[in-house]
């Protein structure tokens, strides 16, 4: 199939349609809105369900209900809307339902702004809703990857009866790039042995997340944890660039990873042996791979569009065995390649003391900006 020039939000929407999306429920919020707008005509055109909900609370619970029936369902939103969805996300996890959710992150906290950010990392990767649960989280860095990840997300969700979050940011949502779309599937309505679609010809079923008996609830908790172990063993995704002979590396996901790649290339051109490690699955995180890589490194720079949320995971994984530095932009600002390049130079040529926390050092250097 030929490549087409597509906007990120639209590309994600069309990829979901082609994956057999049966029903979409959402609520307008920038910078995600084109996704909803596109589906508002595309879904009915194909005889599939589109509904603009009264709120993100409504949307996530519509998704919850539709997922119970075995339908392929999705919602999308941006940071403040995703916060509002957290109750439903926890219930969906507790009921073990396959659901795909797209978060096109923007600046925060609060209403923040509509510019790109990555500050939902903690909320999405480490929970957000109550209780122990683990969504699968995939972070695309370009439009082709956004298409491919979205297309595969439904199978993944159904395989593990899990939530899959496509964690993008405003710049990816708004960006236009040529990309190739996958093959079209018809709307998918499964009848797995847990789904509630009317009990004709079988025993009736129910789906619930309540269990008043703590020992039974704990069994559910253990089942979810064991399933997560299985996901960790099988579903890790990451990309490596120039790492074979690297002495230094940058770690970044999504858009910040993509921008860091330009900085890495510029540093390589100057003769610095540096590469980029870009986790694609943020959950499960490529822990083993990053740890193995860290053994060959003299230093590592984490770049994010937040105040170092993934940084904590990187520190955990590398077990304080190598120097780690951090560079972040916040509030809806993208890090520029030159800024990252300057940080690479500092790490390589001027490795000052590495006591304390990388975030503290970053703050000491950049925190006086205003």
């Amino acid at each position: 199939m030929a490549k087409e020039l597509m906007k990120g939000n639209v590309a994600i929407a069309e990829a979901a349609v082609r994956a057999g999306l049966n029903a979409y429920f959402g609520y307008p919020i920038t910078p995600q809105t084109e996704l909803l707008e596109y589906l508002s005509s595309r879904m009915p055109e194909l005889g599939r369900t589109f509904l603009q909900a009264e709120s993100e609370l409504g949307a996530i619970n519509m998704v919850y209900g539709a997922a119970c029936t075995g339908a392929r369902v999705m919602s999308s939103s941006s940071s403040p809307g995703v916060s509002l969805m957290m109750e439903g996300v926890s219930y969906i996890a507790g009921t073990e339902l396959p659901v795909v959710l797209v978060d096109v992150m923007r600046g925060g906290p609060g209403l923040g702004n509509i510019a790109p950010a990555q500050a939902d990392y903690n909320q999405i990767v480490h929970g957000g809703g109550h209780g122990d649960y683990h969504p699968i989280v995939l972070a695309p860095a370009n439009i082709q990857e956004a298409i491919d990840l979205t297309y595969g997300a439904f199978d993944l969700a159904e395989k593990y009866r899990s939530i899959v979050v496509i964690l993008a940011d405003g710049s990816l949502g708004q960006l236009m790039e040529p990309a190739e779309l996958p093959e079209m599937k018809p709307a998918i309505m499964r009848t797995p042995d847990w789904a509630t679609y009317g009990s004709e010809g079988r025993e009736r079923r129910f789906l619930t997340s309540i269990d008043l008996d703590p020992s039974q609830q704990e069994k559910t908790n253990f089942r979810l944890e064991h399933r997560w172990q299985e996901i960790k063993a099988n579903e890790v995704q990451y990309k490596e660039y120039y790492l074979d002979d690297a002495e230094y590396a940058v770690v970044g996901f999504g858009t910040s990873g993509r921008i860091a790649l330009s900085a890495v290339r510029a540093a390589r051109a100057k003769g610095i042996k540096i590469g980029l490690f870009r986790p694609v699955s943020l959950a499960p995180y490529p822990e083993k791979e990053l740890y193995e890589l860290s053994k060959q490194l003299k230093g590592l720079l984490v770049v994010e569009m937040n105040a170092g949320q993934m940084l904590e995971d990187v520190l955990n994984i590398t077990r304080s065995q190598i120097p780690v530095e951090f560079y972040g932009r916040m509030g809806g600002i993208l890090p520029m390649p030159e800024e990252i390049e300057a940080e690479i130079d500092r790490m390589v040529n001027d490795p000052t003391e590495t006591d304390g926390h990388p975030r503290d050092r970053w703050l000491a250097r950049f925190g006086k900006m205003n």
Binding site: Y64, G65, E87, M189, T196, F206, T208
Partner: protein
């Protein structure tokens, strides 16, 4: 001596749509009556295998254990949104929510209004017992002025806590509503009326006439601190004057229906 032959005649049995289990409802609680009426109607319409129920959060959270058809269980107040999700992907199934007054008229007011306004083709069974039964009898939006509850110990002070919500009247103003009525479960006559309304609510859904809701005035003897009989009397004497029984919205097409 005369020889009397005893012929066994079954006059009362469990509806097929009710599971053969004991409920956890308190003695004298009319949740059970409401369940039975719903089950009888579903049996009569022969739609049990085409049903998906949505349980809410409240004393009826375990409704899925008592009804013998497919069920899901919603977060507090969100049953109408969940039901919307089910109905939109399975438009030919019957979808019902079963909600209390705290669930529907407080935390879930947004979801119920939106569902009614959309004309969502679902049926809502709405139990109004003027308090939060499950959490121990706190004030609900439906608690009457002056009514004592565990969180309005001096009686509901409308200066502080505002006024009760007449849900049926309010939802009836929405164009998407096809059938919205209030009934009571305090005596046999009213219970029969309630059953007829539940039937009409499901008929509304069957004929695609939009959103249907039956508000049922219900007892909570446990938290009201009354005996079951006193509680029934309280519904009649205190609740009905504030919450009149009535048909607030009836799609004209329903009047022509022969059941």
């Amino acid at each position: 001596m005369e020889n009397v032959t005893m012929e066994e005649q079954l006059v009362y049995d469990r509806p097929e749509s009710m599971a053969s289990v004991q409920t956890h409802y308190c003695p004298g609680c009319t949740h059970g009556v409401a369940h039975r009426l719903v089950a009888e109607v579903i049996d009569e319409m022969g739609i049990k295998d085409n049903m998906i129920g949505v349980a809410s959060v409240g004393c009826s959270v375990f409704a899925y254990n008592y009804f013998d058809f497919d069920f899901v269980q919603a977060p507090h107040g969100r049953a109408p949104a969940m039901a919307t999700g089910v109905k939109r992907v399975l438009p030919h199934r019957f979808v019902m929510t079963y909600q209390g007054d705290g669930d529907l008229a407080s935390i879930g007011m947004g979801e119920i209004v939106a569902a009614a306004a959309r004309g969502e083709n679902i049926t809502v069974i709405f139990l109004n017992n003027a308090n939060y039964g499950m959490t121990g009898g706190q004030m609900a939006p439906t608690t009457l002025p002056g009514q004592k509850t565990s969180s309005s110990p001096g009686g509901r002070d409308v200066e502080v806590a505002g006024f009760p919500i007449r849900t049926a009247e309010m939802l009836a103003t929405l164009d998407g509503a096809g059938y919205v009525v209030r009934r009571s479960l305090h005596d046999p006559k009213n219970i029969r009326m309630a059953k007829k309304s539940i039937r009409l609510a499901f008929e509304t859904q069957k004929h695609g006439l939009g959103f249907s809701l039956v508000e049922l005035l219900s007892t909570c003897p446990t938290n009201w601190g009354l005996t079951p009989v006193q509680a029934l009397k309280w519904v009649e004497d205190a609740m009905i004057p504030y919450y009149p029984i009535g048909d607030y919205k009836v799609n004209p097409a329903l009047k022509e229906l022969k059941i």
